[in-house]
Amino acid sequence: MKTFHSTLLSKLVFLSIFLIAAFAFTGCGKSVKRVASDSTIDLSGNWNDTDSRLVAEEMLNDCLTKPWYQNVVNAKNGQVPVVVIGRVRNLSTEHINTSTFINDIQRVLINSGKVDFVANAEERQQLRGEIDSQTSNATDETAKERGQEVGADLMLTGTINSIVDQSGGETVKFYQVDLELTDLQSHRKLWIGNKKIKKHIEKSALKL
């Protein structure tokens, strides 16, 4: 027959063991393993590197196969168009680093070999500062001149929007990325593309 005290003590001891074990399991330290940079890992459900890469690849590949491209090349007597990346505005509900998305866009466009690129407005300021510095510091043979820049034909701009619907532990996130290619001379819009991503995120109410 079990006695009162033995049962109580057993419970207390088991509870303390359970708590210690639970703390131990929940705080098992850090582990790091290397993964391929193009692998898809979704942790929080937020916009991540995979979204940035896939959206850039899909949208720009679509962009370069549309009729505007041949029209511009013909108008330039067979020369590839020169593109400058304008602003990609983050109008979503997350603090997205748009510069990584812009880098992905540039990578896809450059690797396609179908367009030339010029530096954006911010980079141009930096480059002009360097040229100014060369004017007074570099030798005449090596110093670069002002006024020799290549003007862009087209500007790529865009927005990242999101709509979030949430209730309790469930969230549905809808992202829409819109990109536009505009002729800098005529301000005609040559191409408009968009890509939509929908994510369903569930959070558990309890854990050990």
Partner: protein, 473 residues
């Protein structure tokens, strides 16, 4: 088998309104077997003290120490020293359960110190932690049942979550990152929506809606700005609607002074002590807000049970109460090119904290009272078990058990350590160009208690320049 049994007891305790009868009935059924003790008393004592030591070690909170360490440099306006102090003594000042609080305090202090980029990082981490805390840890909740609420991860009060978004929006506005401020505003709207769902009586901040509106306005999102301004009018925490809501300068260049005035209230312990009599009647004594001892009688049926017939136990427990601090700063007198105007309070932590504490009081009281009664019953049983027959040893054991159970009971006093009493605002439309700005700190009687160094402010066409004036004293 026994572990399963414990799970059952605790999980039922977690979700049931009348849980004590479950444990009680088990204990009382077993009480009849007390006399047939088989365990060695020394072993029993060792086990209990070991458990007590583990529990006591896990439940100490550094809330008071934290407040003592950083309130002095904050009062002197030396935010850098407060930040350094936290960085050097992180482990001493914050338990692992206080991760949210650490990020929150750092975010606030870095904001006062005008390091807006770093402040943004800390608040972003605080948001991530908050998101993760949606999932509750069963082990932490179980530990809290045995010790106190300090072993649960700090989840913050609704007013603090709203302050997090307020300061984060201001961080982006200070940097002139309008898109960032608007993103944060949208995140704030999502947080407000979640709080409306979670809280029975959600005390919504008009000031947060006002800052959201300001961000949308600067981005030229007129419809969103109008909706947020309308919401702000509905939800201002102060008893009046600030005049600045009715006078919104649209798309003009402005100097906007954001002041943080006074010292926010802190949390102190409201101690309850009393006796738990047979038949489930709880006689509770407590000290009211005026310092007078009061007595109340609560009917707690089902908590006694046959095993406790004829026994009266002493219990004590503590819940947090708001303690105000005297402030030397109540408003700011802002002079632009010699033209002086007073700031307006748009947010008052005292009133929002009071409402949040009231909203959570019944749940906290139920949880605390339940925990203490359960622990007191267990302690009473444990005392019976440990009786050695030697009156001196028994006295020491009884006192030790009472001390241990009493020491375990600590109110959860955790709260943001660097919060002001009020958020003050004034918007001054100006012409593009250079302006001279002077800010004086005033107390509640309008007397000057300090001032910020006069400086020149350059305002470009269409620009809104934010100037921050923290006076937490």
């Amino acid at each position: 088998m026994r572990i399963e049994s414990y799970f059952r007891i605790n999980s039922r305790y977690l979700w049931s309104y009348s849980p004590f009868s479950i444990l009680n009935s088990q204990l009382s059924n077993e009480a009849s077997n007390v006399q047939s003790s088989t365990l060695n008393s020394q072993l029993r004592t060792k086990h209990l003290f070991l458990l007590l030591a583990v529990l006591l070690a896990s439940c100490a909170s550094p809330a008071k120490l934290r407040m003592e360490r950083i309130s002095k440099p904050i009062g002197e306006g030396n935010y850098e020293a407060a930040i350094e102090n936290i960085e050097k003594n992180k482990k001493k000042l914050y338990n692992s359960e206080d991760a949210l609080l650490l990020e929150f305090d750092m975010g606030v202090l870095l904001h006062y110190n005008q390091d807006y980029k770093e402040s943004i990082k800390h608040f972003a981490r605080a948001e991530e932690i908050l998101d993760d805390l949606y999932t509750r840890s069963v082990s932490n909740e179980a530990a809290a049942l045995l010790t106190n609420d300090n072993v649960r991860p700090y989840r913050s009060y609704p007013f603090e979550i709203q302050w997090l978004h307020k300061i984060q929006i201001l961080n982006f506005l200070a940097l002139g990152e309008i898109d960032g401020a608007v993103v944060q505003s949208r995140r704030a709207l999502l947080a407000i929506q979640a709080l409306r769902e979670q809280e029975k009586k959600f005390n919504e901040s008009g000031a947060l809606q006002y800052l959201i509106a300001l961000s949308f306005e600067w981005q030229n999102s007129e419809d969103d700005a109008r909706i947020a301004y309308d919401n702000a009018k509905k939800h201002f925490e102060t008893s009046y609607t600030p005049k600045l809501v009715a006078q919104i300068p649209q798309n003009e260049q402005e100097i906007i002074v954001v002041g943080y005035a006074g010292l926010s209230p802190v949390l102190g312990e409201n101690k309850f002590w009393g006796t738990y009599a047979p038949d489930g009647v709880l006689y509770l004594n407590y000290r009211d807000a005026n310092g007078k001892n009061q007595t109340t009688v609560l009917v707690a049926l089902g908590l006694g049970g046959p095993g406790f017939s004829g026994q009266t136990m002493t219990i004590q427990f503590a819940i947090p109460k708001m303690v105000e601090r005297p402030s030397q700063a109540s408003a700011f007198l802002v002079s632009v090119n010699g033209d002086a105007k007073l700031t307006e309070p748009v947010s008052n932590i005292k009133s929002s904290m009071q409402k949040d504490l009231e909203n959570g009081e019944s749940t906290m009281l139920l949880r605390t009272a339940g925990r203490v009664i359960m622990r007191t019953i267990a302690a009473s049983k444990a005392k019976n078990l440990m009786q050695t027959g030697n009156p001196y040893v028994d006295l020491v054991l009884n006192l030790g058990t009472d001390f241990g159970t009493g020491a375990m009971e600590q109110a959860d006093l955790r709260l943001g350590s660097a919060m002001p009493l009020t958020l003050q605002l004034i918007r001054i439309p100006v012409e593009p160009g250079r302006h001279s700005l002077k800010i004086d700190v005033l107390d509640q009687w309008g007397r000057k208690t300090g001032s910020f160094a006069e400086k020149a402010v350059n305002v470009k066409k269409g620009e809104k320049v934010f100037i921050f004036a923290p006076a937490l004293r």
